[in-house]
């Protein structure tokens, strides 16, 4: 497709401002001299360009998007409409608090919902994304130990199955990370006990973990970390498996982040905006980012508290993303919340059971909302990799699962169908996986060449990284 710059024609223009005769002179000293090279397009050209680009972008509205750990569920249209209500979208963040009671009411009600779902005492919606929420929680843990003059605690325990953002968020806060090996896909108490000491600030854990397994020893893990003086942080990326069924609070966690753009159905927007809401218990609430919302007899106010770690973002977070999540939670209610997780787990188990006679499952147990295939044997026997299978899925109109993650499984394909896919779709996915298996073993299709039926073939990523061309004209 032509770049927007290549559709540019001199003197084409979309914008027309109202007439105005004012003309104040800006001193030459402050004037831009460098030419602006932006493209020149008429309105219809802009519309056609972006419409064409959108057609070359696969989305949840097109079909199943079983990216493990990403929870690509359907994004209800009501959410979008609520976020665009003038009473929310046209409100300036620095209006007097008496004129934004509706916004604060929304944040407060959303807080009640996420705290009830997680079993926590307090929450903040300031972090803009999951990694930002992790980072914020790590800062709160840092401050907690500091205020207790427990300055030796510089280490954070992270299992080898963790998301890459976990170790990075911890080191951003000056922590040293200690990786512990999993055993049969879950945290080994023996490995954990080896690293516990008075230098441990805490642990970062996902439950169910990235293999889609519920940590059997979860209560012992959080207890052991607490007993050594550390805190337990829950990565909420996989909450979709356990809503209304099992709460991080009861699992023994002190703080957590939620991805509203995963579990709570807000759209990913091609990479964002998300919202990395954080929740915590009484131990940590005095460190939450400022400002805090207070509700006194139905009158909402903002308050800054001295013990807070401070602000982590301008204003109050990705507000309309929170609105979308709230709309979703109100729709579901306590019954729908539970039903959501039950069906998410059922859908994952259904696909797993439909293909596990052909493909090896990394750990063959009842899975939660996702499971991981290990294609090592498949690769040995056919010569085709997890990447090849993924690319072949594209030919059949399915977005591939998460590839090569978690890192502890070599040829990993991580499949998370979510609860919003029908049995018909899941049956189709099962059929396609089986068909690809047949193609691979019969060698009837060279999967290394897949995708074969798409407009674009595989991209040369190596050259791109070696000789980066990062803008028009490079």
């Amino acid at each position: 497709m032509k770049l927007v710059y290549e559709t540019s024609t001199k003197d084409h223009k979309g914008l027309q401002l109202p007439k105005c005769d004012l003309n104040y002179e800006l001193d030459d000293k402050y004037k831009r001299k460098e030419k602006l090279n932006l493209p020149e397009l008429s309105e219809v050209e802009v519309v056609r360009h972006y419409t064409a680009l959108s057609k070359e972008t696969y989305s949840v509205d097109d079909g199943i998007y079983p990216l493990g750990s990403c929870t690509m569920k359907y994004n209800p249209k009501l959410n979008e409409e609520v976020a665009s209500f003038e009473g929310f979208s046209q409100v300036h963040p620095l209006q007097d608090v008496s004129t934004v009671q509706g916004c604060l009411q929304a944040l407060d009600l959303a807080k009640k919902y996420v705290c009830t779902i997680t079993g926590m005492d307090n929450a903040s919606f300031q972090p803009a994304a999951g990694a930002h929420g992790e980072f914020t929680c790590m800062m709160m843990i840092k401050k907690y130990h500091e205020e207790r003059n427990d300055t030796k605690r510089k280490k954070i325990i992270i299992p080898d199955s963790a998301h890459g953002t976990n170790p990075a968020s911890a080191t951003m806060c000056g922590f040293e990370t200690v990786t512990i090996k999993s055993e049969n896909g879950i945290v080994s108490m023996e490995e954990l006990n080896k690293v516990l000491s008075d230098e441990i600030a805490g642990i970062m854990l996902t439950n169910p973990n990235t293999l889609g397994l519920y940590e059997k020893e979860i209560l012992n893990i959080t207890k052991a970390v607490h007993d050594c003086g550390g805190l337990a942080y829950y990565d909420g990326a996989n909450l979709n498996a356990v809503m209304g069924i099992s709460r991080p609070g009861e699992m023994g966690f002190d703080c957590l982040h939620l991805n509203l753009h995963k579990t709570f159905s807000t759209p990913h927007g091609g990479g964002g905006p998300g919202s990395g809401a954080i929740c915590c218990n009484k131990k940590l609430e005095k460190y939450l980012p400022n400002p805090i919302i207070k509700n006194e007899e139905g009158i909402y106010t903002f308050e800054n508290i001295d013990s807070s770690i401070g602000k982590v973002k301008d204003f109050y977070g990705n507000f309309t993303v929170v609105l979308k999540a709230l709309t979703y939670m109100l729709r579901l209610g306590n019954n729908g919340i539970r039903e959501t997780s039950e069906n998410a787990v059922l859908n994952a188990n259904y696909i797993m059971n439909g293909i596990k006679d052909l493909y090896d499952v990394a750990i063959d147990e009842v899975c939660m909302h996702e499971f991981v295939l290990d294609l090592s044997r498949f690769k040995k026997e056919t010569g085709f990799s997890a990447l090849d299978v993924s690319k072949r899925l594209i030919d059949y109109g399915i977005h591939p699962p998460t590839m090569y993650f978690p890192l502890i499984v070599k040829e990993a394909l991580m499949i998370e169908p979510t609860e919003t896919e029908s049995k018909e779709t899941l049956d189709m996915v099962i059929d396609i996986f089986r068909k690809i298996h047949e193609e691979a073993y019969s060698k009837s299709v060279d999967l290394t060449k897949a995708p074969l039926n798409t407009k674009y073939g595989r991209m040369d990523e190596v050259t791109s990284a070696r000789n980066p061309r990062l803008k028009y004209g490079d």
């Binding site: 770049l3 710059y5 001193d27 309105e43 300036h92 990479g271 905006p273 729709r331 040369d460």
Partner: protein, 438 residues
Amino acid sequence: MSYTVNSKKEILEMLEACGVDDISKLFEHLPSGTKYEGLLNLDEGKSEMEVYNFMKDMSKNNVVYPTIFRGAGAYKHYIPSAVKNLSSLSNFVTSYTPYQPEISQGLLQALFEYQSMICDITGMDVSNASVYDGATAACEAMNMCLDRKRKKVLVSSSVNPSTLSVMKTYAYAYDIEIIEVDLKEGLVDKEDLKDKLKEDIACFYVENPNYYGLLEDIIDLGNIVHENGSKYIIGCNPISLGLITSPSEANADIAVGEGQSLGIPLSFGGPYFGFMACKRELMRKLPGRIVGQTTDTKGQRGFVLTLQAREQHIRREKASSSICSNQSLCALTGAMYLAYVGPVGLNEVAKRCFDLAHYAFNQIIKIDGFTPKYEGEFFHEFVIKTPIHVDIINQYLDNNNILGGLGISDNEMLFCVTEANSIEEIDLLVKLLKEVAL
């Protein structure tokens, strides 16, 4: 109610395929003590109509001002219908980060074009595909400049206080020190800057226009900073770049800013997007997603997420930033806005903001008791000293459906005027200010 699909009959068939007869059996293996018995203490689910009405009523508990003279980090600009419409195209809205380039070329190309446009307006070499907002962009930029010997950061006291406060939080995490540079007449005091530039200063961050709307001497400041071997970061308002000196003209090493002005609604503070662009030599330190041009197996031009060796999922604990999700859709909206206005339009919008703001300024200071706080040239915001308490003024304006300037002290008001304001609105503002001060 949930957004699940399957009928009871289908669910039973699926359970059977999984070898269980009830959905609760799939959770039987959860250890005792971790299960929540019964239903959560929340209302039961509601119909779409009920939730729509409930949220609509809630939205009515907010005041929407038809006329706004407040900025201070969030700006009301006119958003063209085409931009609004395109930014809600469902394929952009409901796609994930483009991990599979073969079926995400549209999104990847749009982000590549976004990066190109950010480089155009800032004059810089390389842009990423956005970060959370303007404040966190400044934090990430500061982080790019740190090294073993240089662990202190200078920040002008004229930057947006919200940005400064976020930078201080990040500095707490990074265990580094932020030192504020004093002001003279609302602008960076160059002598104080020179005094504070020591060997261990990693960088200097300044905003232009600054929080008070004033234009800093960014070219001279750059020379001073570079003489010390420190890096120079400029936070800029993207609309203003249609008119005023660009970061590259001031020899900035990194340009950052809040992109909200480019077609994003106010939305009580978010989501917006932060943009970040830098000189080529800093490219591998730039955090976040970056899209690069390449070719596919058929020899066609294509785009991929590139330079991933910088990122958290590869470098893990060695990554300098944990950012993963960004603000892609907002960044795309910004690109759509820039494509819509083009080079001439961006200049026109900037010049209109400048003209209307200067008209407002000149009218307001004619009123008895209203005087300018600073002498310096400004873009579209300015500080006025008021003869009466700012709260009284704003209450009076509020009675007339106008959101007045932001009170930054009892008797100082930071006004903002954009192209979305009309001369008639400004004349009404001036009339009301006269009345209230009588």
